[in-house]
Symmetry: C2
DNA sequence: CTGTTAGCGCTTTCAC
DNA sequence: GTGAAAGCGCTAACAG
């Protein structure tokens, strides 16, 4: 005969303490217009009975649910789960919770989810690598939705808050590392060409080469078109069959780098002796592959945390100057890079 | 002067349609006591205005929020994100959402989160690899909480619904594969000894050997004590320095298997020529490592989906016979296993 | 079949 | 400093 336990409500706490529910509400929400005496009394009762406000009721009456939607294309890839992890932790510290909403990269599903989430379930959202165009996002904002974009796919207009990694300078770090080792023919395997991540990293690549007085040979930049291992294999094969192949490859993410290593190996080339490879992201597989990958670490957890920070400020209607935050990357040198053969 | 858009409410839809809010509510909730005519009218208006019920209000009034809490130790490891992914997808199909709640393996945090979640934010929960003892879980259940345990760490009493992989038969598949290749000295690197996963896999290991008329040598079973790569390296080193080392190692998860491969390699042994290695889980790194890992695949997404199915039945107060569901595993043969040297 | 009404538990004016 | 009371938007009896 177990029935769903009926939780203690604000009414009961009020009765127990001999005060009104308004007073209990004040204490629980940390208002300061309560006498010290009353506050302590109420707090004691609250503690003794393990009372916590019913979130639905609070959401309905105060318009704040303490829930944040996080839209990610997929939850599985390490890239997204890193961001998720950081966001969940930051929200937990604010006593808020994360509503996980995978969009499967489907534009319509994403739009629908934002809409539903924003209507009574969630106070705001994080849009990770959203499918929507800048215009669509702008419109969402105008409709009164509160959100922060994490790692925008395409360039955003000024008023949409966002958090991303410093792609260009990260790429610069990678290339400078290779230059420092003595490489001069440094190839790039890029991601899809219309992504901010790709374009910015490409910019960083060219800038770093340029500063060293090197003009990147056009044939050394190949577009993998995707971010998957297979595309990396293919792109690397094209590079390695060049009349004058590169001595180092900067792959625009770790998957592509893994592909490059495989391609090299299957040609009998050894990494890093015959070919240096640098990746980007620093996800787990970077340390599983042999040789362990030298790569540019994106601060994924930190990106999630930072996005939460911005969003909470937004919800509190605080203004802030910098709507676009770029988080620094860090080069992690492991075993896949070395000076060129001779 | 953008103000937070005030969403269309049931009241407005009712007015627009010239019916009462009760009727709108009936239509929206798919009740069948509405005339076809009225239903269509209301549905049209609802569609035109993109109305969806405010979840907080519904939660408060109906006691159902459409939200499910999922407690996981961490979100990042592929193991958990696989389960999360399956659960999120299944919930989405039921128009429900997932509240992500990482516990960091902290018992108190987990208990606190269950408690808070269950109070007005969530209808029920999935507890993945929970820290609580069977007794504590039992008590939670008695207090009226609705939840399903995914991959219990310790054995559960009968009344607590759970979903897990078929550990014993999975281990059997691994060992039989090795036996089939001709191995006779088959070692096991186990996880922590008080885990259901460890004990069941160990049982499967012994059973399979036993059926082949082989008595497992005690020194061939080593307890890694953890699930991490480093522990796998260490355990494998112990095995490989035995006077009569094994020709094959069955590691109780992929991390440990990766460790075993590293240990073999650093001794100049090549896998699979000199040593076969089988893992358990089939997470991404199994295909990144060289050689690609032969491993027992756990149906992680499916476990998440199944848990959601059970939970929803539980919420609907449906009875079911099988409270404990075991999902079959599948052996994935790749390149880390081969017949013994000679 | 449809409308009226009474809450769900909480926050928030507005008085005192 | 504290309480009374009016909702927040919705669901679920209960009438008719």
């Amino acid at each position: 005969m177990v029935s769903v336990a009926t939780r203690v409500t604000i009414r009961e706490i009020a009765d127990l303490a001999g005060v009104s529910i308004a007073t209990v509400s004040r204490v629980v929400n940390g208002r300061d217009d309560v006498s010290e005496e009353t506050r302590e009394l109420v707090q004691r009762i609250v503690r003794e009975h393990g009372y916590t406000a019913n979130r639905s009721a609070r959401g309905l009456s105060a318009g704040r649910t303490g829930l944040i939607g996080v839209l990610v294309p997929l939850v599985h890839p390490a890239y997204f789960s890193g961001i998720l992890s950081g966001a969940a932790e930051a929200l937990y510290e604010h006593d808020m919770r994360l509503v996980l909403s995978p969009t499967r990269h489907e534009h319509d599903r994403e739009v629908g989810m934002v809409d539903r989430l924003m209507h009574g379930v969630t106070d705001g959202a994080l849009l990770v690598l959203p499918e929507e165009s800048s215009d669509e996002l702008e419109r969402l904002l105008e409709q009164g939705n509160r959100f922060v974009v994490v790692d925008p796919r395409s360039p955003l207009t000024g008023s949409i808050p966002s958090v991303s990694a410093a792609h260009a300078s990260g790429a610069g770090q990678a290339v400078e590392h290779l230059l420092g080792l003595g490489h001069r023919r440094i190839a790039a395997i890029t991601g899809p060409h219309d992504w901010v991540a790709t374009e910015d990293r490409l910019r960083g690549y060219h800038a770093a080469l340029g500063s060293a007085g090197i003009m990147a040979a056009p044939e050394l930049v190949v577009d993998a078109g995707q971010w998957e291992i297979a595309a990396g294999v293919e792109a690397a094969e094209r590079l390695l069959s060049l009349p004058e192949p590169p001595t180092a490859i900067f792959a625009f993410n770790d998957n592509l780098a893994v592909g490059a290593i495989r391609a090299a190996r299957s040609r009998g080339l050894s990494v890093p002796e015959d070919l240096s490879v640098v990746g980007f992201d620093d996800v787990e597989q970077a340390t599983v592959i042999t040789p362990e990958l030298t790569t540019v670490r994106q601060p994924l957890e930190e990106m999630g945390r930072m996005a939460v920070t911005l969003l909470i400020r937004l919800l509190d209607r605080q203004r802030f100057e910098t709507l676009h935050v770029e988080l620094a990357t860090r080069l992690v040198v492991r075993d896949s890079t070395a000076p060129p053969a001779s």
